[in-house]
């Protein structure tokens, strides 16, 4: 996928399988040295909130999976500032260990930099 591709993650974790499968696609590409850039927008920002404990609903923690991104060579993610504000999520509460979070105020300008946007 590489850096001319942006993965646009808009699904909340657990309610939609595409949240996890989107991350799996990013990790698989990164494992092959073709990591895309990643933007969390809309309900996708819920993937980044800590304190996820999905054992009782029979799922694995997406938040823990996300923390593997640096091991796969993805050390920075983009996050839509407005999406956080709309959902009452503070920017401090979405820290993912080992990952630099770059807040984006103009997601349209970010999208314009890429040849491909894969929506998840």
């Amino acid at each position: 996928m590489s850096t001319h591709t942006l993965a646009l993650c808009r699904q909340a974790p657990y309610g939609s399988a595409l949240a996890r499968e989107g991350l799996e696609a990013v990790l698989a590409a990164a494992a092959m040295d073709q990591a895309p850039d990643v933007l969390f927008l809309g309900d996708g920002v819920f993937q980044l909130t800590a304190d996820q404990a999905p054992q009782e609903i029979g799922q694995k923690s997406l938040y823990r999976n996300l923390q593997a991104l640096p091991m796969f060579g993805v050390e920075r993610i983009y996050v839509c500032r407005q999406s956080l504000a709309d959902r009452g999520i503070s920017t401090e509460s979405i820290a993912v260990p080992g990952i630099e979070v770059e807040l984006v105020t103009d997601p349209g300008a970010l999208l314009a930099r890429y040849q491909h946007v894969l929506s998840f």
Binding site: S2, E21, A25, A29, L118
Partner: protein, 131 residues
């Protein structure tokens, strides 16, 4: 121009599967190359040979197989997403000790690397999602 499509929706679950097929036909009708269709998430159900819709409802299997025949389009079903949902080739059914295989002719199981390759090889990638 070279196109690839990514399909997340199961056939008969909503309109997205039918939209993807219409778009794919339009791409080749307009003289463009359709390089690969990557079926992911619930889209892997496209690869099941066992769907049997009534005769007066849309067939969403044969037209893909015809596109492959006529235009040499890669129809790739993501192997990891397919294992979860029970779309298996003969060798996977054997490896995973399942009682039957159902991967339709013309479709192949492939890794997510084939999605990364499709983005690298194609001028345009269009995703089809949602139920």
């Amino acid at each position: 121009m070279k196109f690839s499509l990514v399909v997340y929706s199961a056939p008969h679950a909503g309109e997205a599967a039918a939209s993807a097929l219409r778009f794919a036909r339009a791409v080749v009708d307009q003289g463009h190359e359709l390089y690969r269709v990557f079926f992911y998430a619930d889209g892997v159900h496209h690869g099941s040979a066992l769907a049997a819709p009534p005769q007066d409802e849309q067939d969403l299997l044969t037209p893909w197989q015809e596109l492959r025949q006529a235009n040499d389009v890669d129809l790739v079903v993501c192997i990891a997403a397919a294992q979860r949902r029970g779309v298996l080739s003969h060798s996977e059914a054997e490896r995973l000790e399942r009682p039957a295989a159902n991967l339709a002719d013309g479709f192949e199981l492939g890794g997510l690397g084939q999605l990364a390759d499709a983005t690298a090889q194609s001028d345009r990638v269009v995703t089809f999602g949602g139920q």
